[in-house]
Amino acid sequence: MIPILTFLAGALGAVTRFLLDAWTKERWRSPFPLATVVINITGSLLIGVLAGAVLFGGQPSTWQTVLGTGFCGGYTTFSTASFETVRLIQQGRRVLALLNAVVSLVLSVAACAGGLALVWVL
């Protein structure tokens, strides 16, 4: 049952990413792929909170599997982030490409650590 729920949550995460990506693109017109960056940062924050709830809050790890591995995993994407960096390089936008890679990595890790710390403090 847990695997099935995890797969469905992952699929739901993928659809959420698609909708949020479209919504952001209507409002943000720039070569910088803000949508994917925001998606990866918010998903990392959420998985940090979930991991914190299991590590410090004594919650069952089932939550982390279904919502973390499932939803957050399907919602965030590494392949699109990598592809978008390649496209920026190919278009000659090297600074934006570097910015995309660095901002995604640093802020996602910071958001995840922040989510974990938030649960620890509360």
Binding site: A14, A22, K25, F78
Partner: protein
């Protein structure tokens, strides 16, 4: 998809964001590719409001999450060593997405079965198969256990490796296409 091509009217709101800075496009060796593969292409009704588009992504998302789930179970991460499962998943997923989007772009514009394939295999499968959240969590857990060197090298090697494998997927697919059309 159509955004980088001259002579195509941009009636749709969503797909022209990538093509606004036209002067650079001539240097772009892969102008046929999307800057953002998740961008909705020219629709009758906005693509993201169409249930069929969401259904294709949902189906691909189930398959991608399932494959990642079983690979992660096969190679579980202990919080101290190199997270091989996520590392291999992310690099292989970036390679597949690069090859897929290049292959679809070389076959024609983003419509019909090619769009369904992009939504299902690209946005759905590759998007859900690869993960940034587990990647970030593994870096945090490595750091939490004092393995700063592994955390830092895992982060950097993954990001650089993802860019290289996505690019490799594009190049390999381009070669395959060129060979097949010549024969």
């Amino acid at each position: 998809m159509t955004a980088d091509r001259p002579g195509v009217d941009h009636t749709d709101d969503h797909d022209d964001a990538t093509g606004t800075a036209a002067p650079m496009m001539s240097d772009d060796p892969h102008a046929e590719l999307l800057t953002d593969p998740d961008a909705p292409a020219k629709p009758l009704r906005p693509l993201h409001l169409r249930p069929s588009a969401m259904a294709w992504i949902f189906a691909g998302g189930i398959a991608g999450t399932a494959l990642r789930y079983y690979i992660e179970r096969l190679l579980p991460h202990d919080g101290a060593s190199w997270p091989w499962a996520t590392f291999l998943i992310n690099l292989s997923g970036a390679f597949i997405l690069g090859g897929l989007l290049e292959g679809l772009a070389l076959l024609g514009d983003d419509s019909g079965w090619r769009r369904r394939a992009r939504l299902c295999a690209g946005t759905g499968f590759c998007g859900a198969y690869t993960t940034y959240s587990a990647f970030a969590l593994e870096i945090v857990l490595l750091g939490r256990h004092g393995h700063f060197g592994t955390a830092l090298s895992y982060g950097l090697v993954s990001v650089v490796g993802g860019v290289l494998t996505a690019w490799l997927g594009i190049v390999v697919m381009e070669r395959v296409h060129r060979r097949r059309t010549r024969a």
